[in-house]
């Protein structure tokens, strides 16, 4: 019997997914629960296991294609039934957390289609926490796909390519839709120059004029080595090279635009004397790393200070609701991590309930799973405030973009020794800047300064002898 595999429903507000990579090809045997395909959603990237044992007959969706949840993606012939029988639909159960069963509704109801994601994974200032792997390392080529092997989507299914924008978040004007249809153009290949990167009618006309519409996309992976390329192809045209936007890049872009468009950002910074903290970490680091495993960074100390300050300033742990401000009773701290595909913000849930040691372990665990793409949906949902260690990249001050719809985002900057005046004497102290972007609809400068000063004071109180347990 042949079973149709559907794109599984993975969460209430997730309405569509993009085929990242097929882990099996037609003809391959596949065991039940064996990873079949990698799916990218606007929350998280996950491997979807096969719900049945059998052999993969046919792929119904191409890599890079974005589909609504519930759409058929493959057919698998099961051993216990003869080939050629009527396909039967199989729902795939996805575990959203290792211990928890699927949180997604089993019913293939389409309610999810009507909901827009209200808490997207808001990438933040475009930087990594200290835990993340150094971004200076040479970017890996896209391991999941050999660009030459797969046919360009436009060449194989022009109609489908036109009908399917690269991500559901791309809005095309009627004029753009009509032109794309008339010329059978995959609009994902057109660079947008309009408001927020919108593809304008003139962009399409220029694209047609350039001749790029007729020619199949030129693939030049060697020339450009796009590190985040997933689907589509790179086109080179005279003076410019066009790199298609990957789904993750698109999601990050949309989230950024949404945040800066809707939230009136205000910004402030303070200097923090972390000499005591530096000494504290130095005094316990060796012992901690021997006993606990994993490295002890400054991050958990900062998290501790931030969550305690959030408790004191509940309007910083809140969202704007037009006619109301919603204070979040839980403190779920998002940590910006540079993952291989782009920025992701895993969340330390109930971060106020951990000791510094507990926070260290939790942060290491999240960053590790972000890098190895093992994050579950729960890991990236429900953040109430975001912390970004831009100092890891050498930054001295930064102006982060708020992780929509949160009330603020805090960055920790490079710690460096500076000459500081104390009691009219010049001292050499370890100094660090904290930078805060906040939603000025929710808080004024007074609250924001109170909050950032509270973080500062807590960090300045940390010194050898402060318990981390």
């Amino acid at each position: 019997m042949s079973v149709t595999i559907e794109l599984p429903h993975v969460g209430e507000s997730v309405v569509e997914g993009t085929i990242g990579k097929w882990l099996k090809k037609p003809g391959d045997k596949v065991k039940r629960y064996e990873p079949l395909v990698e799916i990218i959603t606007d929350k998280v990237t996950m491997e979807v296991p096969s719900p049945v044992e059998g052999s993969l007959v046919k792929l119904l969706a191409e890599e890079g294609e974005t589909l609504p949840m519930g759409a058929p993606i493959a057919e698998v012939a099961t051993a216990d039934s003869p080939e050629g029988a009527e396909p039967e639909t199989a729902s795939v159960e996805i575990e959203t957390a290792e211990s928890a069963p699927a949180a997604a509704p089993e019913s293939p109801g389409t309610a999810g289609y009507l909901l827009r994601d209200v808490t997207p994974v808001g990438p933040t200032g475009g930087a990594a926490v200290e835990l993340a792997e150094p971004t200076g390392a040479p970017a890996k080529p896209p391991a999941r796909r050999a660009p030459a092997a797969a046919p360009a989507p436009v060449a194989t299914t022009p109609a489908a390519a036109v009908a399917q924008p690269p991500s559901g978040q791309t809005r095309l004007s009627p004029a753009v839709r009509r032109l794309a249809q008339e010329h059978s153009i995959d609009v994902s290949r057109i660079p947008g120059t309009g408001l927020g990167g919108r593809i304008t009618r003139d962009d399409v006309l220029k694209f047609i004029e350039s001749g790029a519409a007729q020619a199949p996309a030129v693939s030049s992976p060697a020339a450009t080595a796009p590190t985040r390329q997933l689907a589509g192809d790179t086109t080179a045209n005279g003076d410019e090279t066009h790199v298609p936007v990957s789904p993750i890049r698109r999601i990050i872009a949309d989230a950024m635009v949404r945040s800066v468009t809707e939230i009136p950002h205000a910004w402030t910074t303070v200097e923090v004397d972390v000499t005591g903290l530096v000494a504290l970490r130095a005094s316990i680091r060796t012992e901690y790393e021997q006993n606990q495993g994993g490295s002890l960074t400054y991050l958990p100390f900062v998290i501790k200070a931030v969550v305690e300050a959030l408790r004191e300033f509940p309007t910083m742990n809140a969202t704007w609701g037009g006619d109301k401000i919603t204070l979040k009773n839980r403190i779920n701290l998002g940590l910006a991590v540079a993952a291989p595909d782009g920025l992701i913000v895993p969340v330390l849930h109930n971060a106020d309930q951990f000791s510094i040691a507990g926070l260290a372990a939790g942060a290491i665990n999240l960053a590790e799973r972000a890098r190895t793409k093992k994050l579950t949906l729960d890991d990236v949902q429900g953040g109430t405030f975001t912390l970004n260690n831009t100092g890891a990249l050498g930054s001295y001050v930064s102006g982060p973009i708020i992780n929509y719809p949160q009330a603020g985002i805090l960055t920790t900057e490079t710690i460096q020794k500076r000459a500081v005046v104390i009691d009219d004497a010049i001292a050499i102290r370890s100094m660090m800047n904290l930078c805060l972007s906040f939603d000025h609809r929710i808080n004024d400068g007074a609250e924001a300064s109170g909050f950032i000063s509270a973080v500062k004071n807590k960090l300045q109180k940390m010194a050898p002898g402060t318990s981390i347990y």
Binding site: S173, A175, G194, L195
Partner: protein, 327 residues
């Protein structure tokens, strides 16, 4: 060609048509000995006599009713409403009767009359001397509505209106009377009613307007040209019948449409133009349709600051068009 003001062009059109056709006569408040409050009929009383340039009492319902009756009897009256703000007592004669009679009598009683009305603000005229009334007549089938913006268009269209067998509301923006000057041919000419005119050819954005704001649009377009935005300015000239063909051709060309008028935004001419574009050129639109219009307040404010806030200006229009171009 001589350069003339808009009011001179109006006066010429009336004079020429009165010379050409003895059925044409003018009636209104102060039109005779005074020559009209804006001097549109200056000198006509001496030329044509008090029988054809008739000073009327301050009674708009009577002016409109007498003109209507005369039109029924084959005359070609040009009633003048001194300020369009004063038209309301005569609306029954105009909308209730004039607009409907030809249709109601199956063509037996055509109503060949032209109702001239100075309209519009931006002149510190306050509540009762600045109103925009066009939407009420624009909404009424059976009336033709003309709102020229240049002396050339005003003369050519007024002559056509006087020769037309339908009631024509002829709107003259007060601020354009002497502000706007332009070339007017010495020889006889008329212009077709119902044809819009492209006053400036452009490729990036279409802006549709008429009357005074047409000139503001042209000014804004020049401003934007310096910034690399090429604006096409469509002058409706005639509001009814609306020249949808010219509008649609332009929208299809540029993909972006803005409508500018001084009248209140809601349910105005701009709303209709927007609807036409969305209905008939949807697949060509590359941006939401934009309206830059007077706000929905009951009438033109008197205070300078408030009048400025009400009125579309070249700056406000340039601002809007710039956003539309960047969309």
């Amino acid at each position: 060609m001589a350069v003339k003001s808009l009011i001179e062009a109006i006066r010429e059109a009336i004079t020429e048509e009165m010379v050409r056709d003895s059925k044409v006569f003018v009636m209104g408040e102060d039109v005779g000995i005074r020559g009209g409050v804006f001097l549109a009929t200056q000198g006509l009383s001496e030329q044509f006599g008090a029988d054809r340039i008739i000073d009327a009492p301050l009674a708009e319902a009577s002016i409109m009713g007498i003109a209507l009756g005369a039109a029924f009897r084959g005359m070609r009256p040009i009633p003048e409403v001194q300020f369009s703000d004063f038209v309301w007592p005569s609306v029954n004669q105009l909308i209730g009767e004039a607009a409907r009679t030809c249709y109601g009598t199956n063509g037996a009683l055509p109503v060949p009359m032209v109702i001239r009305m100075p309209y519009g603000g931006g002149i510190r005229g306050g509540l009762f001397h600045s109103q925009n009334v066009e939407t009420h007549f624009f909404h009424t089938p059976g009336l033709k509505v003309i709102a020229p913006g240049t002396p050339y268009d005003a003369k050519g269209l007024l002559k056509s209106a006087i020769r037309d067998n339908n009631p024509v509301v002829f709107l003259e923006h007060k601020k354009t009377y002497r502000l706007v000057r332009g070339e007017v041919p010495d020889e006889e000419y008329t212009l077709p009613i119902g044809k819009a005119d492209i006053k400036r050819v452009g490729s990036n954005v279409t802006v549709v307007s008429y009357g005074l704001t047409l000139h503001y649009c042209l000014e804004a377009a020049e401003d934007l040209a310096a910034q690399g935005v090429d604006v096409e300015v469509v002058d409706l000239r005639t509001l009814t019948p609306l020249d949808t063909e010219t509008i649609l051709d332009s929208v299809k060309k540029t993909g972006k449409l803005a409508i500018v008028h001084e009248d209140n935004i809601t349910g105005g001419v701009g709303a209709e133009v927007a609807a036409v574009a969305v209905e008939q050129a949807f697949e060509y639109l590359d941006a939401p349709v934009m309206r830059i219009c007077g706000p929905d307040v009951p009438t033109m404010p008197f205070a300078q600051t408030l009048e400025d806030a009400y009125m579309p200006s070249p700056e406000k229009i340039a601002d809007g068009l710039r956003k539309l171009a960047a969309y």
